[in-house]
């Protein structure tokens, strides 16, 4: 897929990670608030089609317009934004009741991405739903910053591996497809036993070795394949180091670069604010969690990692 990333002024961040309930929507709403408070024009897009609830994190009612209008009536994206109650920040909800997300055509999806890139904003934050559906993966892959939210639990970790493997596999497939190699990845993967390929990393290495021009393509296309990791609901110092361990394991296991940008401690104030539909960053502005969110959002803006040991 073409990624005219460099020509735009704004940045697109996609927030995913596989498992539902890890706090993707909460994190999106908070990062957006922080960026807007810093005088950036921010647009949040909820593409959790079917389960869209980003609006309730700002205590606003279900908006009367949504991505449905884009898909069904061709309304311009900019006209579908609604106010969030926070200066500089608007929201597009993904509440597509009438269409199942599976029925969105590939061409419609590309059109949506083109329009997202043209939005008049410095930061567009896309809240993806859970799961590793192709639509979710494509929205993740089109972003300038691919952000994954994880909770330090085995099931969530397992789901995240699944999500990242799928994202990488799709990235490799789509990259080669755009250069005219339509079925090569599927072909080799289906015969992986025969070629002695055990995992995705070995598949990529095999492709690189076998065809030097494919190696060149992958070098170019995967050069900026990096995932930014945020840990949520952290309960102990050991939990925090799960972020560093994921970084290590994903590099050694899949050859993928991870930037561990930060974490949020487990805190009752978070669920209290969600239950009461209060924007967390405004109602708990002096909470430790707010500070942690500000820190990792700033790390994302600056493109740097969290410092774990030095005071």
């Amino acid at each position: 897929m073409d990624s005219p990333k460099k020509e735009r002024e704004g940045e697109i961040w996609a927030i995913g990670g596989g498992k539902g309930g890890t706090g993707k929507t909460f994190v999106t709403s908070c990062m957006g608030t922080y960026l807007a408070q810093k005088e950036n024009r921010v647009v949040l897009i909820d593409v959790d089609i079917g389960g869209a609830n980003l609006h309730s994190f700002f205590g606003i009612n279900r908006p009367g317009k949504s991505l449905t209008n884009f898909f069904e009536n061709g309304s311009p994206l900019q006209e579908l934004t609604v106010k969030t109650g926070i200066d500089n920040m608007q929201l597009i909800t993904g509440d597509v009741d009438s269409i199942a997300s599976d029925s969105i055509k590939f061409s419609q999806k590309l059109k949506l991405f083109r329009h997202i890139m043209k939005l008049n904003a410095q930061y567009v934050l896309i809240d993806l739903g859970g799961g590793s559906h192709n639509n979710t993966l494509d929205a993740f892959l089109m972003a300038d910053k691919m952000i994954a939210v994880l909770v330090p639990e085995m099931i969530a970790i397992e789901n995240m591996y699944h999500f990242i493997k799928n994202a990488l596999f799709r990235k490799v497939r789509m990259s080669l497809r755009s250069y005219g190699f339509r079925e090569i990845v599927e072909h080799v993967w289906e015969r992986r036993k025969q070629y002695g390929i055990k995992n995705l990393k070995e598949l990529i290495e095999w492709l690189r070795r076998s065809f030097s021009y494919i190696g060149d393509i992958l070098d170019r296309e995967l050069a900026d394949f990096k995932i930014y990791l945020i840990l949520n609901k952290v309960r102990s110092p050991e939990d925090i180091f799960i972020g560093a361990s994921m970084k290590s394991a994903l590099l050694k296991f899949l050859g993928i670069n991870i930037d561990f940008v930060g974490y949020i401690e487990y805190d009752d104030s978070v669920w209290r604010s969600i239950r009461n539909q209060q924007p967390f960053m405004l109602h708990y502005s002096s909470s430790r969690c707010t500070e942690e969110i500000e820190d990792f959002t700033e790390n994302l803006v600056q493109g740097r990692e969290i410092k774990l040991l030095r005071a």
Binding site: P152, E153, M154, I157, E158, Y161, K198, N199, F241, I242, A244, S245, M246, K247, S248, A249, K252, F253, L309, R310, A311
Partner: protein, 184 residues
Amino acid sequence: MPRENYEKYFKILEISPDASLFEIKHAYLRLKKLYSTESPVIAPIAEEFPKKRRREILKEIEEAYSKIIALLENEQESVYDEEPSVSGEIPEEGKPESLSFSGPVLRQIRERLGIQLHEVALDTKIRVEHLENIENERYETLPPEPYLKGHIKTFASFLLLNPTKVAEDYLKRYREWKEEHSSE
């Protein structure tokens, strides 16, 4: 050998070449644990990430750690060479053996390694006040000798020094002070 030549070892331990000893030790222990156990991070991919590969990784980690520690020990020897008379004694030929480990010497070595006292405390479970008193030789505030000896040895091994030699040196000065004061 300068630190730049060790870049690949620092990379294996996933730390930057200017990492402090505390960071190095921490990274080593963490990675060793990660790849030698079925941790929640490894368990979900254990099947696709065979034990053989993980053993190779562990070997690399061990090698990197021992190379880096050897490098730091070399750097330390140059600490003695540069300023051999911190303790007030003049060692012969500036050899480490001839240096007496006093509180200020321990502090200097710690600072050269880029380690904060609270980091030592975190790793050794010795309270920061105790460590501070040891470095400043505030003998009157130190715990009874058997405990003190334990602390000194732990602190010394954390700094990659010979614990027995450090404890001997330190306690020699401590006993001299004690004798002076008990006769009053």
